[in-house]
């Protein structure tokens, strides 16, 4: 305690030198918007729930790519596995939703460990291709294993019990949206704690210089496997959530298209900063929905144009633009 009394000003200089994912007014704003949507735009709740699910999925990918440097182009396998696991859980075990999410997360985590053992031995393009190959194989398995997945018809016909025995899922998606928002808050807080922790620092070190981490005595592959498993589990939770609120799981939940989309969301929003997942997923889901409503034939063109513009003008993501704006408005604010 005596040291603390003498040293605080200098120590805080050191403490400020660490990346912190701080809760700021912009976080408060995000959640206010999230809650406001419920009251103001209740006819869009399904779309909003879809957005929330995609934010969770993008957060999981951000942990792997942004913080760990694990280049995954097949993250939909974890989403899809979580979805099928939650669907099967509801069909055969229990229709209780929270344990269903856990089941989805666990199933994806197991797959994360297994595929992690394969893909984490390599880096770069080889890694990208391996994740893609595993995803393609699993999609093939899911399409063939009709008894479990329903094949191309999808898995449906399961019922989800009221949340905590209280809140019934309604036709208009009120319950589903609030449920999703709460799960998102939990996942986000978990990610925040994780990236600020010594483990979070360690994986960023591995991302930037794996050989040097080995020379600090750190078993690099083991740490990455932990991270990849966590990331897979969260993607599985997103998939399980999707299965529970839509009541239908198709093989598209395992598809390359979904893996690609979530990566685009992350690039759009900004990689390695958590907030990027929020912004990227929201912009992506809302713009594709509006574009598809306005022009059902050429809406992909809008999406492509948006991505090209984003990469051209804000290669580090839309959140950077917002950061700069915030910095300009409040000269005292500084990002470390």
């Amino acid at each position: 305690m005596a040291d603390l009394a003498i040293a605080p000003p200098r120590s805080s200089v050191i403490a400020d030198a660490f990346l912190r994912h701080r809760l700021s007014w912009s976080d408060a704003l995000i959640w206010l918007v999230g809650i406001a949507v419920y009251f103001v735009a209740s006819e869009y709740l399904q779309l909003a729930t879809q957005t929330v699910i995609m934010i969770i999925f993008a957060l999981s990918l951000d942990l792997a790519i942004g913080y760990g440097g694990i280049e995954s182009l097949g993250h939909a396998v974890f989403f899809g596995t979580g979805a099928y696991a939650a669907g099967s859980y509801a069909l055969y075990v229990s229709s209780e939703p929270i344990s269903g999410l856990v089941a989805g997360g666990l199933a994806a985590a197991v797959l994360g460990i297994l595929s992690g053992l394969l893909i984490l031995r390599v880096r770069g393009l080889t890694q990208v291709i391996l994740t893609l190959a595993i995803a393609t194989m699993l999609l093939q398995v899911a399409t063939t294993a009709k008894s479990i997945t329903g094949g191309d018809d999808g898995l449906t016909g399961y019922r989800i019990a009221p949340i905590l025995g209280q809140f019934e899922f309604d036709l208009y998606g009120h319950t589903a949206y609030i449920y999703g928002l709460v799960i998102l808050a939990v996942v986000f807080l978990f990610c925040r704690v994780l990236v600020n922790s010594p483990f979070g620092l360690t994986v960023r070190g591995i991302r930037d210089n794996p050989l040097r981490m080995r020379l600090l005595g750190v078993p690099v592959t083991a740490r990455l496997l932990t991270l990849y498993t966590i990331s897979a589990a969260l993607a599985g939770v997103a998939g399980a959530l999707s299965a529970q609120v839509t009541g239908l799981i198709g093989t598209d939940s395992l598809s390359f298209l979904l893996s690609g989309n979530v990566l685009i969301m992350l690039i759009l929003g900004g990689i390695g900063r958590l907030s990027g997942a929020f912004l990227g997923a929201t912009v992506f889901v809302v713009v594709s929905d509006r574009a598809a409503a306005i022009d059902p034939f050429n809406w992909l063109f809008v999406l492509g144009a948006m991505l090209i513009l984003a990469v051209r003008f804000t290669p580090s993501g839309l959140t950077v633009v917002i950061d700069r704006l915030v910095a300009r408005l409040s000269p005292g604010a500084r990002r470390t």
Partner: protein
């Protein structure tokens, strides 16, 4: 090999050979670092200094011979294991975490040493033990002012000091300094010497260096390598007097310097 020693040597290298096919890059190398040693390894380019460092750190495996660290046989141990047992090194070409701040760089080593790098909770910046240790190391090398800067934005000489802070954060028994003064202007290398003199007395330091002024001022013993083998070993005075050493190394170097 260490049987009979009362106190285990910090580092003991016995009869080390390394062949790449017919090419012999290390020939019968033996030397010992006692705890607290200040030992320099010199020799002309291509003498095998870097090969020896790679053999000691585990990047390369020797063809024959043995290496003991604090009495433990590490001849076949993995890289990470050697570090955990107390072997740290700095790099000739700076090898840090460029996008991270100086404090984060050092904290990586501090958390690795404390074996808390797996803890997924409790923000690093709110952990007094980590922050205090980072501050202590930065203060030791007089780089506290750079704590918040990204290593990528630092000058070359400052990166060298961060390297040292990282290595020392591991609380090593043996510290290998691979050309710490390479590429530094004269004034900086004088300051480096000053800082090297402050390394903890109990750590055995092996420095590979071309800057003879630094070597003669810092080291107490010197090993001279030539063509993969040891040419001479002795105190600084003995090495300076040794005519053979003058011939192959100091003389060679003087000619080389005159020519350039």
């Amino acid at each position: 090999m260490t049987v009979g020693h009362e106190i285990a040597a910090a580092l003991e290298v016995v009869g080390l050979h390394k062949n790449f096919g017919a090419l012999r890059v290390a020939r019968d190398i033996s030397f010992t670092l006692e705890p607290g040693a200040r030992h320099a390894l010199i020799g002309p380019n291509g003498a095998g200094k870097t090969t020896l460092v790679n053999l000691i750190t585990g990047v390369l495996r020797p063809t024959s011979g043995s290496i003991h660290l604090g009495g433990v046989d590490i001849t076949r141990a993995r890289l990470e294991r050697r570090v955990v047992l107390g072997l740290a090194r700095t790099f000739q070409i700076s090898s840090l975490f460029l996008p991270l701040s100086v404090a984060e760089n050092v904290a990586l080593a501090v958390t690795a040493k404390a074996k808390i790098d797996t803890q997924p909770y409790g923000p690093v910046y709110r952990r007094d033990a980590i922050v205090a240790e980072v501050q202590r190391l930065l203060a030791l090398f007089e780089i506290e002012a750079t704590a918040q800067r990204r290593v990528a934005d630092l000058a070359y000489g400052q990166r060298r000091l961060v390297e040292l802070a990282l290595a020392l954060a591991l609380k090593p028994k043996v510290l290998l300094l691979d050309e710490p003064a390479a590429g530094l202007p004269k004034r900086d290398s004088e300051r480096l010497l000053e800082i090297l003199m402050r390394l903890p007395a109990e750590v055995a330091v092996l420095v590979i260096e071309h800057d003879m002024e630094l070597v003669f001022n810092f080291a107490r013993r010197i090993t001279v390598m030539f063509e993969g083998g040891i040419l001479a070993e002795g105190s600084v005075a003995e090495i300076r007097r040794d005519p053979q050493v003058r011939d192959v190394y100091l003389g060679h170097r003087r000619d080389h310097e005159m020519a350039s």
